[in-house]
Symmetry: D2
Subunit: 263 residues, 4 copies
C-alpha cells in the first residue's frame, strides 16, 4: 500500500498559519565574547516558519536537520546564514528563531579584585522575510535601593535584587558586554558572585549612595541607549523583587520603532 505524505496534502481551508515549528530544543552552542574567547554554553531554541494556506503541514523534522547541519559550527556567529538556510529548507516566506542561553562574564570584586564568574541570561530573536532582523537581549541582575525608603527613614533603606531586561536592534555591532555595562552603571550597585568583607562594605555603601526607583533604572538606561548611535531600537524593563513586599515592582520603556517576535 502506498502511504501518503500527509503533510504535503493540499489544504482547502484557506488559512495561512502565521507561525509553525518546534520549541524547547536544548542545544549546545558556542558564543564568542568580547575577549574573542569562544564560550561553550547550552541554548534553549525555538524555530518557526509561516505556512501557506494550500499546505496542510510543515515537515517538523527539517527544522532539526537544519539545526544539526550547524552542530559543529557557530549558530550564533552565522545566524543570518542559518536563517536563510532554514527558510530555504522549509520552503517558507519567513523564518523565525528564538535562542536563549546563559553567558558568563568574569568580574572583579570592587575592592579585593578577586575574580568570579557571573551568568547573564541572553535572549536572541531573529527573523528573515524580505529583510533580516535581529533583536539581541540580556537579563542583568542588579541591586536597587529605594530612594523613598532612604529619604523617610532615620536609618537604612530597603534594597533588593532586580532583573533588568534589555533588548535592542542594532544599526552597528554592539557587544553584549556593552549592554550589560550600560545596565550595571545605572543600578544602585552592580552584582558579583564573590564578595569579601571590604567588597561587601563597598557595595552596601555604594547602593546607599545611589538610590534608584524602578522608574529611575529604566530612564537612566534609556538615556544611554538613545545616545548610542549604534542602537536602532530598544526595550528596557526592570523587575524589582521588593524586599518589603511579596510582589514585584516593574517599569518598562521602549522606543516607538521597537519590534520583536511576540508569539
Amino acid at each position: 500500500m502506498i502511504k501518503t505524505d500527509v503533510q504535503s496534502e493540499r489544504d482547502t481551508r484557506e488559512i495561512t498559519i502565521d507561525r509553525v515549528g518546534v520549541k524547547n530544543i536544548r542545544y549546545p552552542i558556542v558564543v564568542e565574547d568580547r575577549r574573542n574567547i569562544n564560550q561553550q554554553t547550552v541554548a534553549d531554541i525555538a524555530l518557526y516558519v509561516d505556512l501557506q494556506e494550500h499546505e496542510r503541514g510543515t515537515h517538523m523534522s527539517r527544522f532539526l536537520e537544519v539545526l544539526n547541519k550547524y552542530h559543529k559550527e557557530d549558530i550564533i556567529s552565522n545566524l543570518e546564514q542559518f536563517m536563510a538556510d532554514l527558510r530555504k529548507r522549509m520552503g517558507s516566506e519567513t523564518a523565525f528563531a528564538i535562542i536563549d542561553f546563559p553567558y558568563f562574564i568574569e568580574k572583579e570584586a570592587p575592592v579585593s579584585k578577586i575574580k568570579s564568574l557571573l551568568s547573564y541570561q541572553c535572549h536572541f530573536q531573529a527573523s528573515l522575510k524580505e529583510e533580516y532582523r535581529l533583536v539581541i537581549g540580556v537579563k542583568v541582575p542588579i541591586t536597587t535601593l529605594c530612594p523613598c525608603s532612604k529619604e523617610i527613614s532615620d536609618n537604612g533603606a530597603h534594597s533588593q535584587r532586580s532583573y533588568v531586561n534589555i533588548q535592542v536592534t542594532l544599526g552597528e555591532f554592539v557587544w553584549l558586554e556593552e549592554l550589560i555595562e550600560m545596565v550595571e552603571a545605572s543600578a544602585s550597585c552592580e552584582i558579583y558572585s564573590l564578595l569579601k568583607r571590604p567588597d561587601e562594605k563597598y557595595v552596601t555603601e555604594r547602593a546607599y549612595a545611589n538610590p534608584r526607583f524602578a522608574e529611575d533604572i529604566v530612564r537612566e538606561i534609556t538615556l544611554k541607549l538613545r545616545q548610542d548611535r549604534r542602537i536602532a531600537s530598544f526595550k528596557v524593563e526592570t523587575e524589582n523583587l521588593e524586599s518589603i513586599h511579596d510582589h514585584n515592582a516593574y517599569a518598562g520603556v521602549w522606543s516607538n520603532n521597537f519590534w520583536e517576535i511576540k508569539y
Copy 2:
C-alpha cells in the same frame, strides 16, 4: 526635618515610562460561570499605568489600594469600572491589568457520564486609554493524534497532550465555556479528569478516528472564530507535548487586527 515625597519630585530626563506597576499579586476573586454560579478562585494579578515624563515615580501602594477597594466585590464582573478607578487614582492616561486564574468546569465522561472537574487556566488583559479594551483568553488541554503517524504505521499512532491558547476580543459577550467548546470540538479528542474503562475506550477510538496536526487544530478553531460574529479579533495557538520527541510542536494563527498587551 521635613521628608520629601520623592516619587512626586519633578523629573527632568524627559522620558515617558510606557508601563510601571506591580506584578505577581495573588488575590482571591469571584467569577460567574455560564450556569450563573459564582466560582471562587485565586488570581495572579499585574497592574500597570503609564507615567508622564515630568513625574519621577508612581505611588506603588495605590495599586493595592484600588485592588483592596474591590476586595469583597467582583473585580472580573466590574472590570471596566475597576480600570477607570485605577486610572483615576493613579492620575495616569492609561491603565493596564493582566489577570490569570484557574476556572473550573464540571464535565461528564463520554460514556459513563460520571462527572468530574477540569481546571482551565484563564488569562485576561484589560486596558483603558481613550477606550476600554479587553482580551479574554483560556488555555485548553486536549488530546492530539498525529495524522502522519497513523497513515504510515500498520498499527497505532502517537498521541499526546496539547495545550491550545485562545485569546479573543469581543464585539458581543461570549462565555468562556463557549471558547473552550470551540477548542475541544476541534481536538482529536477532548480531555477529562475521570475516565472509566468504557470512557477510555471511547476517547482512544475517537482520537484515532480524528487525527490532527498542530496546524489542523489552529485552522479548525480559526474557521469557527471567523464565523462567529461576536468575535472581533483573535489569536489561537497550540503546543503539542510530542510523545515521540522531547521538544514541542507549535502552530499559531492570529487575525490581522488582533491586539494584546505585550510587555
Copy 3:
C-alpha cells in the same frame, strides 16, 4: 471479544511499588481560618498508594472518584477520613496525599493600620498506614537585613526578600496563623502587601534595627518550635534572595524525629 482488565492482571516480577498515583490535579478546596471563616482557595493535589507485588497496575480513575466524593465537603477538615477512604477504595496498605494551596491573611500595616491581604503558600503531607501522619507546612515571605553588611558599612545595609519554609507535625492542634506569626516575629521585619509612607519608614527602620543572617532566622524559629509543646517535630528552612548576589543563601534546621513524604 472479552477485554481483559489489564490492571488487575497478576504480576510476577515480585516488585512492590512504593508509590503510585496521580499528580498535578488542580482542585477547589475550602480551608477554615483562625477567625473561623471558610476560605475558598485552589489546591494542587497529588494522591498516591503503594502497590503490592502481585498486582500489575493501580486503577488511576479511583483516585479521582475519591476526590470527587469530597467535592462539596471540606477535604482539609476531614483529611484523616479522606485518607481512610482513599486507602480503602484503592485496596492498598498505605495512602499518601500532598496538598498545596495559597492561604490568605488580612494584615494591618504597622502604622497606618490599613488592611491588605497577603498570600501564604501552604504545603500539607498526609499518610495513612498503621497510623495517620500529617505534616503541615507554610512558606512565609519576610525581609532579612544582613548583620555583617550593617556592621562593616558606614551607611545602610543590604536587605532582601526571603522565604521561610516551616513544616511541622503536631501533638496538638496549631493554627497556620500561629506558625506564620512565629516566623514573622523572627524576621528582620515582616512583609505586607500595602504600605503607606509612615509604614515604609517603620519597616525600613525596624529591619535596620533587627539584622538577621539566614542562620539567625532558622535558629530563632527553632527556639520557638522547641518551646512549643504542641509541636512534635519540625523542619525550618530559609532562602534569601540576596540583593548583592544572583544566587540565594540557604539555612535549614530539622528535629531528629522529623519525617516527611520525600518522593
Copy 4:
C-alpha cells in the same frame, strides 16, 4: 573603629544548623562522556555545610572561592577532592553539593540512521562526612503507550511523553549512558530529536507493540538495577504526561538502602 567579623561571633542558642550554604549558582562545567569526549555544559549548583552550635554564621563567600579554584578544572571528575576542599575551607564536619546539568548524547534514528543530539538532565548529589557518598541521577524522556487503552480499544491506544528519573549510588563505576540505556530499553519506545518518515513508522509501531503502564516502566528498570552488581542502591520514578488527562500518572520504586540529600 574596629569592625567585628559578625559571622565569627560566638552563638549561644545551642542550635546546630543541619545545612547552610548557597543555591542557584550557574556555572560552566566539563563532563567526560563514554566516548571519552569532554562535553562543556552549564550546571546549576548548590553547596552546603553543617554549622556547629557555637558559630553564628558561615562565610558564604568561601563557597564561591572553592568553586572558583576549580574553574578551569573538571569539578565533576574530581568531585571527591572538591568535597574535601570544601569541607576543609569551610571548617565544617560535613559538606554537600547538588549539581544539575544537561548532558548531550548523539543518537541514531532507528531506520534512517540520521544522527541528532538529545539532551538529558542530570542530577548529582555528593556528601562528605566520615565517608564520601555520591548519588548520580538522570532524567530520561521516553514514550509510554497505555496497555489498558490498547486492550479495550478497537483501534489505536493513547501514548504520551514520560520522564523517568533514575538515581543510583555505585559500588563500581557506571556510565550515565548505561543508566540511560537501561531506561530506554524499558520504555514503550525511546525518544529521538530527529525522526524521518520511516523512523516515525518504526517508533509508532514499536510503541504499539510494547504497551507499558507507569508501574511496568519502574518494575522493568528495577529488575535491571537489581541485577547489576555495580549498583549499590537506587530510586526509579516515572511521570507520564497523560494524553487523555491534564494530570500526570506517577510510579516510584526505591531500594531500602537508598539514601539521598533531601533538603
